[in-house]
């Protein structure tokens, strides 16, 4: 394997050098020279306007993948409640299946699922594989991986997707390792290459500063985890009778997987599961996040942020500076070392907008920033900006919201 610069077409323009994250390119004698720091990430190949850079000598194995077809979605549930991201994936999966002219499948392990599944059929699923047993009561990856592997080996989907939740991001790597295929983490866009009919998987890297498009070569299925809240949840039109809880209505599209529960041994002993005490902390469950940073000034002032969040039916987020000062607990932290969130509305109060914070929230639909420094970087990515003192703005806003509610 080798990375080469074509000396005849290279102009030494240094575009590639600017793109390289690893200090692996020098411009010497008017030409780009790639040194041993190179990790073959390919960024320079794409950056080069003259198509002068090429990676050669990758061992290609030629496989026949014609036995694989369809898009299979891992439908994640927690104690019987289907995770939102699963509906998003079904919606996206339908589009991918249509682009390929193939089918959409779901695989759902769990316990006492029957009454919980009818909503799934509003998303144009062709077939739902269910594994309903007490062994799937708790989401434990070595147990779940076995049934997913069984389904993949039996039904050979071309594409297999799961949510990039904590569970999905532990479970799917295990499944991929067993199946021996690639897995692209935390994707934010998926599409089908119209010619090659392969899955193009796009994901943020380097803290969201760069997007990379990744393909799965040499193996099937093409597997990816997908970031929650990014894909739209779109029930297909004319979805029959949304409200019925009677799964029997769909029995022609349901298949119960056969398996021997005794084969599902686990290496894990679950000692306890407890909800985090105090305020709910799953930031990604909310459409509105009101975040406070160092500008809040102290732990007590977070009650103001909380009041605003509550009045909007939202949740409190925070910058690392606020968490590191112990003004609020870590599960509230948004950003590169905290949670990545994509709410409908993100209100940043007293947050400067350091790149690590932006990494965790820049894909929010609408960003509103309140900061008294007009040059704060947060204003570069906000949709609406208010330069001002948050202690003057927020109480007034809360009052208006409360009044507004009283009137209507």
């Amino acid at each position: 394997m080798e990375i080469k610069v074509d000396k005849t077409t290279c102009t030494g323009c240094s575009l590639c050098k600017n793109f390289c994250m690893y200090d692996a390119i020098e411009i010497t004698g008017g030409k780009a020279i790639i040194n041993d720091n190179c990790i073959f990430c390919g960024a320079c190949i794409d950056a080069c306007k003259f198509k002068s850079i090429e990676i050669t000598g990758i061992h290609e194995k030629n496989f026949d993948f014609s036995a694989y077809s369809g898009v299979m979605i891992f439908i994640e549930q927690h104690e019987g409640t289907v995770a939102e991201v699963s509906y998003e994936l079904l919606s996206e999966g339908r589009k991918l299946a249509d682009a390929l002219g193939s089918k959409l499948y779901g695989i759902m392990p769990g316990y006492e699922l029957k009454e919980k599944i009818s909503g799934i059929f509003n998303y144009g699923i062709d077939r739902l594989y269910i594994a309903d047993n007490e062994i799937f009561k708790h989401n434990i990856d070595d147990i779940y991986s076995k049934i997913l592997v069984q389904a993949i080996n039996k039904y050979r989907p071309d594409i297999f997707l799961g949510g990039a939740t904590s569970f999905g991001r532990t479970l799917l790597p295990k499944v991929a390792a067993i199946i021996k295929t690639g897995l692209t983490a935390d994707c934010t866009a998926l599409s089908i290459d119209p010619e090659k009919k392969i899955l193009l998987q796009t994901r943020p890297t380097f803290g969201g500063n760069v997007l990379a498009t990744i393909i799965t070569r040499n193996a099937r299925p093409q597997m990816a985890t997908v970031r929650p809240h990014v894909m739209a949840k779109e029930p297909v039109q004319n979805a029959e009778n949304r409200q019925t809880d009677n799964y029997l209505k769909y029995s022609d599209r349901i298949e119960f997987l056969e398996f021997d529960p005794l084969n599902f041994k686990t290496k894990y002993k679950l000692l306890s599961r407890e909800k985090e005490l105090g305020q709910s902390i799953n930031l990604s469950d909310y459409d509105v996040i009101v975040s406070g940073g160092r500008g809040i000034g102290g732990p007590d002032n977070f009650s103001l942020i909380k009041e605003l969040a509550d009045s909007l039916g939202g949740v409190v987020g925070a910058s690392r500076a606020a968490v590191d000062s112990n003004w609020i607990s870590y599960p509230h932290q948004v950003g590169q070392t905290g949670k990545t969130v994509n709410p409908k509305v993100y209100i940043a109060c007293g947050i400067s907008g350091a790149i690590q914070h932006l990494a965790g929230m820049q894909t929010s639909d609408i960003i509103i920033a309140i900061n008294r420094d007009p040059d704060a970087p947060i204003f570069k990515i906000a949709n609406y900006g208010i330069v001002g003192d948050l202690f003057e703005i927020i109480p007034r806003l809360i009052k208006k919201i409360k009044n507004g509610k009283g009137i209507t």
Partner: protein
């Protein structure tokens, strides 16, 4: 065999992201004097390894921490840093053939290296890297070694020579698992506060010889390593097209609050 509780900490060198900026006019990357650092989450992994070692030593058992990385020759510097932070030994896996590895090929290379070591009981990883940002190496490595993996650990409740009890935050819940050793875990920043290098550590870091293992040492085939051994391949890297047009809300605080309130109404959130 001597009874030492051996801990392996997997670390990776990554570009320091504070240095990466996007030029808003041209939408291209601007990098000024890039520096490479230990992946931030891996510093918590080192610290946790050292703390477990110290706990073991206090209870009279022998323990040892080995830091391991796969990367270009210059990654040696992060291994020295790991030693200054309390690791006892370090191993560098370096070969041109390892370059371009995806998580699968990385995990496979790490597995082959771990298999060469003896007496290890626990592997600690960072929960994800800054550049790859996948968090997949841990679960894949654990599967290849046929040991349990607990991701996103927020505290180690108990550890003995045989078992480990780990608490972790999964979505909105804390889960506590007990597994038998050997096992692998990944950690984030809520698990500890890393110490600063000690003087003695720095001295040891300077003098330590760090063995370098190449593809032949790991008895691996070139087609299973690096980009050749990867199932995924990056085909394009680009900067997100931000069409940010910030609308500034001006006026007195009262007017600003009023306009913001109207916006929130239009957005249907009040």
């Amino acid at each position: 065999m001597e009874n030492i509780f051996r801990i392996i900490v997997c670390i990776k060198q990554v570009p320091g992201t504070t240095e990466i900026k996007i030029n808003p006019e041209t939408n291209t990357l601007v990098r000024e004097g890039i520096e490479t650092v230990i992946n931030p989450f891996d510093t918590y992994a080192i610290e946790e390894g050292v703390r477990i070692k110290e706990r073991m030593q206090q209870s009279g058992s022998e323990a040892e921490v080995t830091a391991i990385t796969m990367g270009p020759a210059q990654s040696e510097s992060i291994l020295r840093e790991a030693i200054s932070l309390g690791a006892d030994k370090a191993i560098l896996l370096s070969d041109r053939a390892f370059a371009g590895a995806d998580t699968w090929a990385t995990a496979l290379t790490l597995k082959n290296a771990v298999k060469k070591l003896e007496g290890w009981r626990l592997i600690i990883l960072g929960k994800q890297t800054l550049d790859g940002d996948t968090g997949q190496v841990g679960p894949e490595l654990a599967h290849m070694l046929n040991i349990p993996f607990i991701g996103y650990a927020s505290s180690i409740e108990h550890i003995s020579g045989q078992k480990i009890t780990v608490k972790r935050l999964a979505e909105d819940r804390y889960e506590t698992f007990e597994v038998r050793l050997p096992a692998a875990i990944s950690v984030g920043k809520d698990i500890n506060v890393p110490r600063v290098p000690s003087l003695r550590g720095k001295l040891k870091a300077k003098n330590e010889t760090i063995p370098v293992l190449n593809i032949a040492d790991l008895s691996m085939d070139e087609k299973d390593a690096g980009l050749s051994g990867s199932y995924t391949q990056v085909i394009k890297i680009f900067t997100p097209k931000h069409v940010y047009e910030v609308k500034m809300i001006e006026g007195s605080p009262d007017e600003q609050a009023e306009e913001l309130f109207t916006k929130l109404k239009q957005l249907n959130i009040v």
